[in-house]
C-alpha cells in the first residue's frame, strides 16, 4: 500500500477555469489522479430537463485540454463526474464529444470509460411498486404521475462505478450524474485508504479552492490522504487553508453538521479534528464513514411545466410605487377578463417587484417600500409559448396604461428596459423527482462503456 495518495482537484466545477500557475504547481507535487465533478443541482431544474449544460463548451474544453495533457503525460487517471452539468444522457454525450475532439486535435490515445446515469422510467415504476423508493427532502412521497411527467430522471452514482472503471483499466473516466466527491474518492479508495477520511477529504476537494482564504471554485486544491489523516492545501500561494476555513466549508450547502449523507452511507463528523499545518495547509482526522444497511441512490428528475415570456420594466413615480399592490391586482383582473375563454389553469401571471420583495417573496419580513424606484419583471408561464407571449403582451400593455387613483403621469406607468419589451424565455422546468431509490447493487443502474480513443483516427 502506498503511504499516501495525492488527489488534485483543479477546480470546483468543470468549466469554471483555474490559473495555469496553480495547475502547474499542483503537477509538480505529482498527484496520483486528477478529478473534478462537472455538475450541481444549484442552477435549477432547467438544465436537467432541457438536456443542456449550464457550463460553456469552450470553457470546459479549455479546462479539459490542460487536464488531459497532464494525465496522459504523467500516466495518471483523469476522472470527470456529473458530465455536462446535470449528468443525463445528452449531458454525458456532450462532454464525451469534447474529450474526443481534444483527443483528435492533439492525437491522444487512451482507454476511456463512459458511465451513464440516466434512469429508465420503467425501472423507477417497478421500484415504486416494490416499495423501494423513499421520501427525501421534498417531504412528499413519489407518485407514479411524477415519474410519468418527468422529462428526464438521473441518479447519483456513488464511488463503486468509478472503481469498476479503474479496474477495467480506464485512464479517462467520464461519468453521468455522480455524488460530487465520488470522482475524487475512487483512486484513494482503490488504494485501501479509510473510507471516512477519503469521503470527507473529497467532500472538501469537490469545491476546489472554496475551502481557502480567499475562497474560490476557480482554483486548485490538493488533497493528500494518509493512514489516519488527510491534508488539504491550495497550490496557489495567494490562498491558504485555515482550520476555520476548512471547518466552515464543512457547513457549506449542507443541511446538517454531524452527518453528511451520500450513496451507501454517511460521513460522521462528530469526532473530526482540524489542525493547522504551517501557514497554508490543514490536517484533518477523526472523520468516519457509517455504512447504510441498504444502499440507496438519489434520483433527480425534472418535468416541463410550461413556457415563459417576461417583460422587464421600472417604475419611478412615487404615486405608482405607493399603490403597486392594488395596481398589480387590477392588472391581473384585466388580463383574466381579456382572456376569459382561456382556463386560468393554463397560465400564471407573476409580478416580481424588485425594491419590494423581488428577492425574498413571501419570506420578506420588510413590508414597507423604501425605494424611490421599483424594478418590475412581468412573468407569464403558460401551456404554450404562444399563450405565454399573448398573456405577457396584454399584461405589459395593461400595466403600462393602467389608471389608478391620483395618477399624475398619464403618458405611461412603465419604463421599459428593452425593445422588444417582451422576451421569450422558452421552456420552464421544475424538480419533479428528488427521492431515494434502494438498490441491491451499487453499479446496476450505471452501465459502463469502454471506448478505445485512438488519437486522430477517432
Amino acid at each position: 500500500m502506498e503511504d499516501e495518495i495525492r488527489v488534485l482537484a483543479p477546480q470546483g466545477l468543470l468549466g469554471y477555469g483555474f490559473p495555469v500557475k496553480s495547475f502547474q504547481e499542483a503537477l509538480r507535487r505529482n498527484p496520483h489522479v486528477i478529478a473534478v465533478d462537472g455538475g450541481s443541482t444549484d442552477p435549477g431544474p432547467y438544465y436537467l430537463g432541457a438536456g443542456v449544460s449550464f457550463t460553456d463548451q469552450l470553457a470546459v474544453k479549455r479546462d479539459l485540454e490542460f487536464m488531459l495533457e497532464a494525465a496522459l503525460d504523467k500516466g495518471i487517471p483523469l476522472i470527470i463526474g456529473t458530465a455536462g452539468g446535470a449528468g443525463g444522457k445528452p449531458h454525458l454525450d456532450w462532454n464525451v464529444d469534447i474529450v474526443k475532439e481534444i483527443a483528435k486535435e492533439r492525437d491522444y490515445s487512451f482507454l476511456m470509460a463512459v458511465i451513464s446515469a440516466e434512469i429508465n422510467k420503467d425501472v423507477i415504476f417497478k421500484k415504486l411498486t416494490d416499495g423501494k423508493i423513499r421520501t427525501f427532502e421534498t417531504r412528499k412521497e413519489l407518485k407514479a404521475e411524477d415519474v410519468s411527467r418527468s422529462t428526464r430522471i438521473v441518479a447519483q452514482m456513488g464511488v463503486e462505478p468509478f472503481l469498476k472503471a479503474l479496474d477495467a483499466g480506464a485512464q479517462v473516466i467520464v461519468a453521468g450524474r455522480a455524488y460530487d466527491p465520488a470522482c475524487q474518492a475512487a483512486v484513494p479508495l482503490k488504494h485501501g485508504f479509510d473510507c471516512g477520511l477519503v469521503m470527507h477529504m473529497c467532500k472538501i476537494l469537490e469545491c476546489g479552492a472554496i475551502a481557502c482564504v480567499p475562497g474560490t471554485a476557480s482554483d486548485c486544491l490538493l488533497g493528500t490522504i494518509r493512514k489516519d489523516h488527510f491534508i488539504v492545501e491550495p497550490t496557489n500561494s495567494d490562498r491558504r487553508c485555515t482550520e476555520v476555513s476548512v471547518a466552515a466549508h464543512t457547513l457549506y450547502e449542507k443541511g446538517n453538521t454531524d452527518f453528511l449523507p451520500g450513496p451507501g452511507g454517511a460521513i460522521d463528523l462528530r469526532q473530526v479534528k482540524f489542525e493547522q499545518m504551517g501557514d497554508r495547509a490543514v490536517k484533518v482526522s477523526g472523520s468516519r464513514f457509517i455504512k447504510d444497511d441498504v444502499y440507496a441512490i438519489k434520483l433527480e428528475g425534472a418535468a416541463r411545466v410550461g413556457f415563459r415570456t417576461i417583460s422587464i420594466a421600472g417604475a419611478r413615480c412615487p404615486k405608482m410605487i405607493s399603490q403597486i399592490d392594488s395596481i398589480i391586482t387590477g392588472v391581473k383582473e384585466r388580463v383574466q377578463e381579456n382572456f376569459i375563454t382561456v382556463p386560468t389553469t393554463d397560465y400564471q401571471t407573476i409580478f416580481h417587484i424588485y425594491g419590494k420583495n423581488g428577492v425574498m417573496g413571501d419570506l420578506e419580513p420588510e413590508k414597507t417600500i423604501r425605494s424611490h424606484e421599483l424594478g418590475i419583471v412581468i412573468e407569464v408561464v403558460a401551456k404554450t409559448q404562444e399563450l405565454a407571449n399573448a398573456i405577457c403582451s396584454v399584461a405589459r400593455s395593461v400595466m403600462l396604461h393602467f389608471g389608478y387613483p391620483g395618477r399624475i403621469a398619464t403618458a405611461g406607468n412603465l419604463a421599459f428596459l428593452y425593445s422588444p419589451s417582451d422576451l421569450k424565455a422558452g421552456e420552464v422546468y421544475e424538480f419533479s423527482v428528488y427521492h431515494l431509490m434502494e438498490v441491491t447493487d451499487s453499479c446496476e443502474m450505471f452501465p459502463m462503456e469502454l471506448i478505445k480513443v485512438r488519437g486522430n483516427l477517432s
Partner: protein
C-alpha cells in the same frame, strides 16, 4: 456589564444557500471562539427565533445546529418553493439571509 450587540458585530459570515433544491441553509460564523461559545451558551439563536424571523412554523426549521470547529451556528429551513420552480425568486438561495442581520444579542 452586559451590552446589546448586533449580530453583524459578532459574526464575520452570515449567509444563505440551497442545501439541495428543497431546503435553504443559513450559516452564522462568529468572529472569534470566545464570542461563539458565549452565544452558543446563551442559546438565543434557536428554532423559535429562526421561525419568527422568517415567519414560518418551528416545524419548518429542520435543523438548528452548532459546529464548534467552525465557530458556527447553522439553521436549515424548508424552501417555500423548490429552486427554479414557477414563481421562485432565488435559484441558488444565496440572498435569503437578510432577516438574520436584525438579530441582537446581549452579552
Amino acid at each position: 456589564m452586559s451590552k446589546r450587540y448586533s449580530i453583524t458585530e459578532l459574526a464575520d459570515v452570515i449567509r444563505s444557500k440551497n442545501a439541495g433544491p428543497f431546503e435553504l441553509t443559513f450559516d452564522i460564523i462568529f468572529r472569534d471562539f470566545k464570542t461563539y461559545y458565549e452565544v452558543k451558551e446563551k442559546g438565543v439563536i434557536n428554532k423559535a427565533l429562526i421561525a419568527k424571523l422568517y415567519r414560518i412554523t418551528e416545524d419548518e426549521v429542520l435543523t438548528l445546529a452548532t459546529f464548534d470547529p467552525a465557530k458556527a451556528i447553522k439553521a436549515t429551513i424548508v424552501r417555500p418553493l423548490s429552486s427554479g420552480g414557477i414563481g421562485e425568486t432565488d435559484v441558488y438561495g444565496s440572498q435569503q439571509h437578510a432577516p438574520l442581520l436584525s438579530i441582537e444579542i446581549e452579552l
